[in-house]
Symmetry: C2
Subunit: 275 residues, 2 copies
């Protein structure tokens, strides 16, 4: 059921080769063995939700942070007229409630698309991580930054791309993100979304999404059958999308950033040798 991680950095087996959070973060900067163990510990907890259920609902104040280990979820808002806008798709390795901090009421809900396994993470564990391990803290902040960039990217899509561009862009993004956590099989991804859900994310109607997908199939850009998406012509699809994957910041940290983090780590060791 779970596809094998195929694109990890090198093929030595290390702790967390199957931990998508680790895979994602190590795209940003190399993690030490102890970092990995810490992350593994962080997501040791386990809770499961069936498909189509809210994990946290609008108006609630969330009691814990969680990491998604398996399955797919969405951030969404319901509108007074009954409409739904999906803001983000969460996949394995993503964190819910990024802003650990100032938990007022949620202004949106997080719900499952498929059955989902999550690791509830106590707030304190995250706070400790932020305070105690500058390298992981930086990696986590980088991940938050990436998520924010994705929000901006969605704004661009909704504001300035036509239906074809939006669909193409979303497919490209989902492929890239799955690849980044080792959940793709070449140019194939599991895509457990209904066309209605795609439509709710793209600001379109299901009917129109259907027509756009049909067009893509006719132009041999993709196949999409039984929840499996194959990107046949990745160049072509990116052209339709005007896709630029820089915003996913898969490039990793710059020299400067690495140095700054190393400096923080040194300072950390000197300040609190005991911890």
């Amino acid at each position: 059921m779970r596809t094998a991680p195929s694109l990890g950095a090198g093929s030595k087996t290390q702790a967390g080769d199957d931990n998508p959070l680790i895979l994602k973060l190590s795209r940003f900067l190399p993690l030490t063995e102890s970092d990995r163990q810490m992350l593994d510990g962080l997501i040791a907890g386990e809770a499961a939700y069936p498909a189509d259920t809210d994990i946290v609902s609008e108006g609630m104040v969330p009691r814990f942070v969680f990491a998604l280990k398996e399955g797919m979820a969405i951030r969404y808002r319901l509108l007074p007229d009954g409409g739904r806008q999906i803001m983000t798709f969460l996949i394995a390795g993503d964190l819910g409630d990024t802003h650990v901090s100032l938990l007022e009421a949620m202004d949106h809900s997080i719900g499952t698309i498929t059955p989902v396994r999550v690791a509830p993470i106590p707030r304190d564990a995250i706070l400790a991580l932020f305070a105690g391990t500058p390298r992981l803290a930086a990696a986590l902040r980088w991940s938050a930054l990436q998520e924010e960039a994705m929000l901006r990217e969605r704004i661009v899509s909704l504001g300035r791309r036509d239906a074809r561009g939006r669909v193409a862009y979303l497919l490209c993004e989902l492929l890239c993100r799955h690849q980044a956590v080792g959940l793709s099989d070449g140019a194939m991804v599991r895509l457990p979304l209904t066309q209605t859900e795609l439509a709710d994310a793209l600001g379109l109607t299901p009917v129109h999404v259907n027509r756009v997908l049909k067009g893509f199939r006719e132009r041999k850009l993709i196949t999409l059958d039984r929840k499996k998406l194959h990107i046949l012509d990745s160049e072509g699809l990116r052209a339709v999308a005007a896709f630029n994957h820089d915003y996913l910041r898969l490039g990793g940290a710059s020299e400067d950033t690495r140095h700054a983090i190393a400096a923080l780590e040194r300072r950390q060791r000197e300040d609190r040798p005991a911890l």
Copy 2:
């Protein structure tokens, strides 16, 4: 020229009554005199940019954080086809480059609409603030949270509201935000935007924005002349927008949050009594 702050908490004159950043943050939680002085110091620096200039451009790595003291700016992206998508309007009290942290290349630009005065803030000053003053750090993170909520709200607008709804929503938002930093005069705001700029933010064409505004005027919802926006029928406008200002989180911190911050402050004092 600058309108008097009218909605502050109480009317005693305190440091920074004219500092929009302070006004904004103190909506979240009360700031001590020393907090205010620290913030005043933070934005003591001064730089000016003429209208229609980039403060930071896509692809650059920003050399400093900045706070906007006067004028209006935008976060935007240029598309290959020449289009522009405006993601955010920045007004007095807003911070550019919220993520002080991991400065890789910017994935969007920040440019001025009007002539602008900014306070460049050294990275270290921000980092020190985060490390040394938990209360201000929390307030700043709250502000970042608010900005992220605004991004999500824009996604909802672009995805699920029609042209009228989008325009109405944006006007409501801009009014609220100006009021929050004491830059409104009742239901009147300076709105130095061209219809083209509105269109670029709303995913519409200038022509259509014009027609929508005309409709609003005919229905006596607003007047908009010589860059001055009057909201005549705030209820009506909100109805058109399905506006809910909760996402601006003007409510302030909860009891819980205040207690958590107070606890952090105590710990701070014990840990590093010297700083």
